[in-house]
């Protein structure tokens, strides 16, 4: 299913991929460049260059500390990408570890795991993440763990439902009759077949996680200053929205590019999965 020969792309999916890759590419490029070079140090304040409108020296202007917005956006993309990637990794691992056994064994194991997952999902996600960060203190690591935990049930669900479907298929029954051990069935027989479903879920998870992270940073419970993050930049600039709209516009654009890029890619994956399945 994953071999290149069988990869099928509908034109619709291709359009989504292209658009998504371009948007995502902008953010990722900014991130990659920021690893080696930013026009100014993103944290360097300059009291003599406060709130400059976009100009040649500062293409995106400067903020109320006189920091270069372009440099800050570039370095903010780092946290956005890092937090969403690490958070999704945690959610994915936890979700898979919980979801596949739940779907495979069913019964009380399933009931227990799902009850826990459901009670986590009972909280509006952002609320849970906020409270978790409030409990353990605001830091990038805590945000990642909080988001990972909040999102884990989503992945667990995908895995569980997928596993429940797959385990009814003949090849799993066959494997059981052949005497393959359950852990091997789950890990080597079921998991590879979940990948096509997990892939769009992962991409959309990245986007949703970024939504949450930026929201939390906006409330001051995410990335901590002086480190730049889109959410924090937006909340800091709200006061200057009338006098320095560029402080709002550029981070907002980058944030939307990233999320939208991911949505497009996941949409492409989803369309492909649906079309591929129907073939």
């Amino acid at each position: 299913m994953l071999s290149s020969k069988t990869k099928y792309r509908s034109p619709e999916a291709s359009a989504f991929y292209t658009a998504g890759m371009i948007l995502l590419g902008i953010v990722v490029l900014a991130f990659l460049i920021s690893l080696f070079w930013t026009p100014y140090s993103p944290d360097a304040t300059d009291a003599s260059a406060k709130l400059l409108a976009p100009c040649i020296e500062h293409p995106f202007g400067t903020d109320n500390f006189g920091r270069d917005v372009l440099s800050r956006i570039m370095s903010a993309s780092k946290y956005t990408i890092y937090i969403s990637a690490a958070g999704v990794a945690i959610a994915l691992i936890l979700g898979t570890l919980a979801g596949i056994p739940a779907g495979y064994f069913g019964g009380y194991i399933d009931k227990g795991i799902m009850l826990l997952g459901n009670s986590i999902m009972c909280f509006p996600g952002i609320l849970l993440a906020l409270v978790a960060v409030a409990v353990f203190g605001a830091s990038v690591t805590n945000v990642i763990w909080a988001l990972g935990l909040v999102f884990a049930p989503t992945f667990a669900r995908v895995c569980r439902v997928g596993t429940m479907e797959i385990k009814e298929l003949d090849y799993i029954t066959h494997a059981r009759v052949m005497g393959v051990k359950p852990y091997r069935i789950m890990g080597f027989h079921i998991f590879p077949n979940l990948v096509p479903q997990l892939l769009p879920a992962t991409v959309i998870g990245l986007a949703n996680m970024t939504l949450f992270e930026s929201g939390m940073s906006y409330l001051g419970l995410g990335v901590q200053p002086p480190d730049a993050s889109f959410g924090k930049m937006l909340s800091d600039s709200q006061a200057y929205i009338r006098v320095a709209p560029w402080l709002v516009i550029f981070p907002a654009l980058m944030l939307v590019f990233y999320i939208l890029g991911l949505y497009f890619i996941s949409e492409g994956l989803r369309v492909n999965l649906a079309k591929g399945g129907k073939r």
Binding site: Y171, I172, H174, A175, V177, V180, H189
Partner: protein, 549 residues
């Protein structure tokens, strides 16, 4: 009304699906020209994608929006349908032309009780002025006509509370409610079991005669058509390639393609000559099952549901059977007789009471569906080595030596087994989706073989394969039986196959074994009602249905 000999006349119809990239694609229907005579049952046969469904949709006026009729005309009772307004055409549906479709399970709105859906047929046609009571009467009458004795009750049921056959009857009732002159049946029986198929065909025949409804019957299965239709047309690639009366076309096909279809419908022609081998019944059986009772448990809060179904949810009742070494046993039974549950119990996949003794470390199993029998994520080689590892005999085969040597030995064994099953080395690196259905079933058998089982259970292995693949598979199974001395328990609904290769047969019905004995005896002289029913249905498919008046 003037009577036309042809109620429908399709005149040189050409239809295609133009797209922006390809404004002149290959037509789906190419110069199709035929007529349906008033009162007849016309069969339209062809493989999937040959255009038979498009023909019916064109007549009904339900073509997809992107379809374009480039030339030709369709006349219904003398009026050219293609010149009518959409509104006029719609008003003909249900009133003049009725339709039933293949999949009765999804063809009814799951949210609406059956009676209401039938009532919509009546209310949709404004000229049909009836009071509520009259409508109710019309519907109950029709439901009784299609064979329901409890019409009132059926009306208040939701589709999911009906069986497949019942749903198809409801759909027929809906299509026939306004007594249309033409009834288009698009594969109405292909998802039903043999016994139900026979009863539905019987019903359609009765409708044709009693209500004087003309039927256009579409199917891919010649055997169904044979006793049922008056005339048959064969379609291929959008063209009608052959047409004749039903008896002539089937007994004496003039067209090569028709002949091919015919052979596919008759598996028996190819599997002659497999001589069953002798079995020593004094040996210890490889499989002994005693008093197996099993069923599907209920969830906690489902208790008290479906009170009419009683508390007993057991599917199997005290089933005992034995399979001797080197034997091929056939297990037959209608759908819902408990075959599958029995197998799952034997394989230890279902909790059950009773005892299952197996005289070998492994039993192999192959399943019905060649699509899902292999893991799409892995290569054939992976499948084989996984089976080898799981058998617990991997080390024995690999022997001592370096990792490379051991790997080479394992590979040698894998290739050897694959070869037995008629698969070459080139298949090792392929993924399942690069193989045909028959090849996949072979891989499944190879996976069983590599584990060296004394018994292979095959659950309807032929039902999804075409005739030639089935025949090859059968040959492979008998070969293995002969050469590897592996016993087979073959579950099937195809009595022909059992007759050919299984010396012993077990018949199941209602979760019990109702008959057991040598195949020739059981099939020629059935002792139980279930067996005779199965045999009847099988026979009826192949003979002209008598019309009961």
């Amino acid at each position: 009304m003037t009577r036309h000999i042809h109620i429908v006349k399709v005149h040189h119809l050409t239809l295609s699906f133009p797209t922006r990239n390809d404004p002149n694609p290959k037509p789906v229907l190419d110069d199709v020209d035929f007529g349906i005579r008033d009162g007849e049952i016309l069969g339209l046969i062809g493989n999937s994608g040959c255009g038979k469904t498009m023909t019916s949709l064109a007549i009904a006026g339900l073509l997809p929006e992107n379809a374009e009729i480039t030339s030709g005309s369709i006349k219904f009772a003398g009026k050219n349908l293609l010149e009518m307004s959409p509104r006029e055409r719609r008003s003909m549906l249900g009133k003049d032309i009725g339709m039933i479709f293949q999949e009765p399970s999804t063809a009814l709105d799951p949210l609406m009780v059956v009676g209401k859906q039938l009532e919509e047929v009546l209310t949709a046609h404004k000229e049909n002025i009836q009071t509520k009571e009259e409508r109710h009467k019309t519907i109950t009458d029709m439901l009784e006509l299609v064979g329901f004795t409890n019409a009132e009750e059926i009306m208040n049921r939701y589709p999911h509370q009906l069986s497949g056959g019942q749903r198809q009857r409801v759909l027929i009732a809906g299509a026939a409610l306004l007594k249309p002159r033409l009834l288009i049946c698009d594969e109405p029986t292909s998802s039903l079991d043999t016994v139900t198929t026979v009863s539905i065909l019987q019903l359609l025949k009765e409708l044709c005669h009693n209500l004087h409804i003309t039927i256009l019957f579409i199917s891919h299965d010649l055997s169904v058509v044979r006793g049922f239709c008056d005339r048959v047309m064969v379609m291929r690639d959008g063209k009608i390639v052959d047409r004749d009366t039903a008896s002539d076309i089937l007994s004496n096909p003039r067209n090569a393609f028709t002949a091919e279809l015919l052979t596919n419908a008759r598996l028996d022609t190819r599997i002659m000559g497999f001589e069953p081998i002798k079995v020593d019944y004094t040996k210890d059986p490889v499989l002994t099952a005693t008093d197996i009772t099993a069923g599907y448990g209920r969830r906690l809060f489902e208790r008290g549901k479906n009170k009419d179904e009683k508390a007993d949810n057991k599917v199997l009742h005290d089933v005992s059977l034995k399979v001797y070494p080197n034997e091929i046993v056939g297990l037959i039974g209608g759908s819902g007789s408990g075959k599958t549950t029995l197998i799952r119990s034997l394989l230890g996949l279902l909790p059950h009471s009773g005892k299952v003794e197996i005289k070998s470390p492994r039993i192999g199993v192959i399943f019905q569906d060649p699509v899902s029998c292999l893991n799409p994520a892995h290569t054939i080689k992976w499948h084989m080595s996984e089976a080898l590892e799981a058998s617990g005999k991997a080390n024995e085969i690999k022997g001592e030596g370096t990792y490379k040597e051991r790997k080479a030995k394992a590979l040698a064994r894998i290739t050897a087994v694959l070869e037995i099953c008629g698969l070459g080395e080139e298949h090792l690196t392929r993924h399942p989706n690069e193989l045909s259905g028959g090849q996949r079933q072979r891989v499944a058998i190879a996976m069983c073989l590599i584990q060296d089982p004394s018994l292979i259970i095959a659950d309807e292995p032929f039902s999804s394969l075409d005739a030639s693949s089935s025949a090859e598979l059968l040959k492979l199974m008998t070969d293995i039986n002969r050469e590897q001395h592996t016993a087979f328990l073959i579950i099937t609904h195809n009595i022909h196959i059992v007759r050919q290769i299984a010396p012993r047969v077990i018949v199941m019905s209602n979760g019990k074994i109702c008959e057991e004995g040598t195949t020739s005896e059981v099939l020629t002289n059935p002792q139980s009602e279930a067996t005779s029913k199965l045999l009847d249905a099988e026979r009826q498919i192949h003979v002209i249905l008598p019309v009961q008046n």
